[in-house]
Point group: C2
């Protein structure tokens, strides 16, 4: 049986640069679908496109309006193809109205000098030593991830007492396990709870307006990771007059940075 | 006399969503123009557009090919307008070929609870206590900025001896001074030297493929800053097989985060 995630990002070619898809109940959010699967479906349109070259380097998804549950159409157009890079413009519509826009950079990578500069926090226990977060009270999509927060870096309790940071640290994988690929990595990059919930220790009306992910992993590195938990590190930088940004890193369990990801989020009050 | 920066981002309405512009010799880079002015011109197209609401929240610019010196055309289309937010798709062409694509989120901000979570490094001397970096040997655009690096965080010397970080810290303003606005802030977000030059202490063939900037400043905060130096903090997170990301913050001289900005950069060897 295919994984629910594959169902959620499943696309049928609809002629030209167009693909037909639909939201999936297993990845439902409070309103409409989880943004991670929306972005992953947009990336998948490029991956499935006959003119695509190389692997994803960057993906930007702009959430222009809440998606409704049901069918959507994605158009992925190659804007420019160079010798080793390719730029894509992507648009997701529902009933002819734009619900999300995006862009992607793809490239054929070559082996070069490499170095990881960001550092992992010390003393990270393995995923196997931690308990899975309870999914009680969360929308459906949260149950599609196996999240194991490090002691002191869990999202709760929601006491309403503001703390001086919004840092989260946790292991995460698809539930049930699924080998990591570019779409699932893209979706994991949107699974970080909104930083304002952590900082103020209470939920608030929010909505991501734009999300950018940089892929450091290539296919061999993804294959090496398989379906084991990856490490997510997230924090907010600045909250001001209705918008905050959050920045996160996703690491393999053997110390490679797989992706860095940034978003700007609307919040109320 | 208008500032060269205003000349570099000057656009003439060309009907519909189109605007005509041209590169400016004062902001020339090694090949074609400085990417900061390209992105600022794309943002300016939205700012000048009659249907625009609010102020910029986010800007993504994808550099699809090197621009040639000379005329260009920008098309800025409102993809979706909501009550307080607006999503834009932007395309820059030269001779009918796509040279850059982009997207922007604009919004009407309201006053809310606010907090700055990122922290400034300790002991930052004021700009007035530091000497301006020499522009000798750099392309023209570098002379259009007054950059004053903090001791120990200058880009050189290029000894070729790799160091374990790629951090830069410096004060920067337009040269000659010009009051900060959204286009000039967007351009400053691309004035950070490529992290690989710092990390490996030597120049290398590079090219930014995509740049995303989040605007934390609104008009009152920009007005408060005026034409004084802002503080730039930049570092790389990961360098791997032809691409690295760099992440940076721009701060006002009274401790407000004005923008956070991220990019993915191609490198050779």
């Amino acid at each position: 049986m295919p994984h629910d995630f594959d169902q959620a990002i499943l696309l049928a070619p609809a002629g030209g640069h167009r693909f037909d898809g639909a939201t999936h109940a297993a990845y439902a959010n409070m309103v409409g679908p989880f943004g991670g699967t929306t972005g992953a479906a947009m990336l998948n349109a490029v991956l499935l496109h006959s003119e695509r070259i190389g692997e994803p380097i960057a993906l930007t998804v702009n959430f222009a309006s809440p998606l409704a549950d049901g069918a959507f159409e994605i158009e992925a157009c190659p804007a420019r193809t160079n010798r080793s890079t390719q730029h894509w413009q992507i648009e997701l519509t529902q009933n002819g109205e734009v619900a999300a826009t995006g862009s992607a950079v793809f490239a054929q990578r070559r082996e070069t000098w490499s170095a990881t500069e960001a550092q992992l926090p010390p003393d990270i226990p393995p995923a196997s030593a931690l308990r899975r977060m309870s999914q009680a009270g969360f929308p459906a999509w949260v149950s599609r991830y196996n999240m194991r927060f490090l002691p002191g870096f869990a999202p709760g309790p929601f006491t309403g007492e503001e703390q001086d940071h919004s840092i989260s640290r946790f292991w995460v994988r698809d539930e049930p396990p699924r080998p990591l690929d570019f779409p699932s990595l893209a979706a994991i990059c949107d699974c970080f709870f909104p930083r304002i919930f952590i900082r103020r220790r209470r939920p608030a009306p929010i909505g991501t307006v734009t999300l950018t992910t940089y892929f450091h992993a290539d296919t061999p590195l993804l294959a090496q990771q398989g379906d084991r938990h990856v490490l997510g590190l997230a924090r907010g930088l600045n909250f001001r007059n209705g918008y905050f940004d959050q920045t996160a890193e996703v690491w393999s369990d053997d110390g490679h940075m797989l992706a860095s990801t940034h978003q700007m989020v609307y919040f109320k009050e």
